[in-house]
Chain length 364, copies 2
DNA sequence: CTGAAAGCGCTAACAC
DNA sequence: GTGTTAGCGCTTTCAG
């Protein structure tokens, strides 16, 4: 049996030449007959309004008519057009998410949380990736918003002025890891500063007074936040020397800085993120340095692997899924015309595992 | 300055009561005036057709008119409705992807590859997760397809008969890691059997003759495939004893089976996937077993961390992104009304790293 | 309870 | 070149 054959037969039997229809441009749709509400109405001998009512489960239709309509719909393989429905309703039941980078676990989890929460209300999710490209980001945001009923912008890179200018066209809008002071755009973010402060306090309590920071990409906002928090935390302590080493965001970056870490004379390293910490762990291991015996290492993010390194990594965990879930809550409130609730700063949770320990004797 | 205030003022100036409009139900949209093509036409003193032409960059519009239209559009903050456009054009410029589980790196990468490739042609991506729920999956697929121009189904769990029945309504459709023999639905999949065969050959060349398989979840199709391939590969060799241990898909599962692995007397372990292999590595390490000195371990998938374990993991890599990219190619061809090209079986690539080595002396 | 009719916002023949 | 007109497929008042 050939599906192709079957389809073609059906098609030529039901429809004249597709070329005669207007509105066909670019890649053609599948050339199935594609029943419309009109055809179903005709087949069932009722009006389109009645078909509409039946399809939407309105209880005010006589049982006999409803049955006839359902039969006709079944027979014609009728699928109501959601596009037409959206146009008539003024609502697409779709929301969009723009992320800078789909390969980042942070955004993957936001995506998951958002998608799941939205699905609970019958909303679908449109996803777009800006590839860290600022110009692209603004375009994407506007476009994605036009296709949907609301928008979530995760860690947008757009300059504040532009974001502010855009925020009106993008509403209902929810911001993740970014805020717009003075506007009424809801914002959910991670309090990186608090996370860093917790890590520093932990290190201090272990006796560490010389810390080296393996800095992330200069362009990264979260790096700037983490770095500033680290400076502040160190400055607040009576004795706390901070060395900053330009590093990066990857395992290899961390690995490459092992020697520099040693040269810094620090007793503890705070890495921009877990990947960098892993790399440092590996590089230090190769140099014969024991962690945490000779040196303590802390990461940030608590990516799934942090539990499984040797030694397991001390890090700060952030509620990535929750960010997506609550973004939906805010968006849903906005869609309902209500206020979105208060902004929140998620507090990272310090996870003390085995990569941090007391300062080696004589090195305090 | 209050954005809220400004907006409200504009709104009440431009529009009577929103309640009088039909088609408003459920959560209301943001109550912005939302200029239409008609208003712009009116403001610019031209017809809607002209506005449409200008907005779509048609070159056949007098410069002076075009300028007036652009000014009016700017003034009114006009954003063409993509929904209306889709309805008129019969094309949404959106495709959908359904995955069983968004937390699986495999699907994350497919998503990324597909999204990126589709974006290159101005298409957007709608994503939905079936949560491994078969009933849900079929519904989602149909619904997602109705909102878009085409569909990619990744590793669908739906039974063959149902998929076959659905395939017509879902077209243009591309299948990932699943095929529909005899249909003309394009299918891209990973040749797990070939990957397993390569691993076994590698192990054999190292002298291993007793292999233990750490099996994945019984419900998993890919586990069944891998397991079957392993049996076949071992059966094909002159001397090759295979022990199968029920295990799972996670680090902890692998970790927990370390003792059982030892008891099996095998000299090499083939894990269902990399996570399980990591767990085994860790569990064996704790038991004082050297890898690959005492035992060889191989994983499957080449997840990003496989390079960074100690020792780095021998595994089979699969082109996850490529799967997404090529799914787009197929879909694009289908959208254009052409044939989709031949199905492909991606061949995993064996990555020999340090977790596999020669059989210990006297244990061959 | 059902149908007729108007409209959602945009596009594209077709005529001027 | 530009406007007129007729849809795209569905929903929803409003009569009856």
């Amino acid at each position: 049996m050939s599906l192709t054959g079957d389809r073609r037969a059906e098609q030529s039997a039901e429809e004249p030449t597709d070329g005669s229809r207007p509105g066909r441009r670019g890649p053609a749709r599948s050339d199935r007959p594609s029943a419309t509400i009109g055809r179903v109405a005709e087949a069932a001998g009722v009006s389109r309004a009645t078909v509409s009512r039946v399809m939407n489960g309105s209880p005010t239709v006589a049982a006999e008519l409803a049955a006839r309509v359902r039969a006709a719909a079944e027979e014609l393989n009728y699928e109501p057009s959601l596009v037409a429905r959206s146009l008539a309703l003024g609502r697409t039941s779709t929301v969009s998410l723009i992320v800078p980078d789909l390969s980042n676990p942070m955004f993957q989890d936001v995506l998951r949380g958002l998608s799941h929460a939205a699905a609970g209300r019958g909303y679908r999710l449109l996803v777009a990736e800006s590839n860290e490209n600022v110009a692209e980001e603004a375009i994407l945001a506007v476009e994605a918003r036009r296709r949907s009923d609301g928008l979530v912008l995760a860690s947008p890179r757009v300059p504040e002025a532009e974001l502010r200018a855009l925020s009106d066209r993008l509403a209902p809008l929810v911001l993740l890891n970014r805020d717009l002071p003075g506007s009424n755009v809801p914002s959910l973010s991670v309090d990186y500063a608090a996370g860093i402060a917790a890590i520093v306090a932990h290190l201090r309590s272990l006796g560490h007074r010389r810390i080296v920071y393996l800095a992330g990409p200069a362009a990264s906002t979260s790096n700037r936040e983490r770095q500033a928090a680290l400076r502040a935390a160190c400055a607040a302590e009576p004795v706390c020397a901070l060395t900053e080493l330009p590093c990066g965001a990857t395992f290899d970056d961390g690995h490459a800085s092992a020697r520099a870490v040693l040269r810094s004379g620090a007793t503890a390293v705070v890495a921009f993120n877990d990947m960098v910490a892993f790399g440092a762990l590996s590089g230090l291991h190769e140099l014969g340095i024991g962690v945490p015996r000779d040196l303590s290492v802390a990461g940030f993010d608590d990516i799934p692997f942090a539990r499984y390194t040797t030694p397991p990594l001390t890090t700060a965990s952030i509620p990535r899924n929750e960010l997506g879930r609550q973004a939906w809550d805010r968006l849903w409130a906005l869609l309902g015309g209500g206020p979105a609730g208060h902004d929140v700063h998620f507090q990272p949770r310090l996870l003390v595992r085995d990569s941090t320990g007391p300062v080696p004797a004589g090195r305090g």
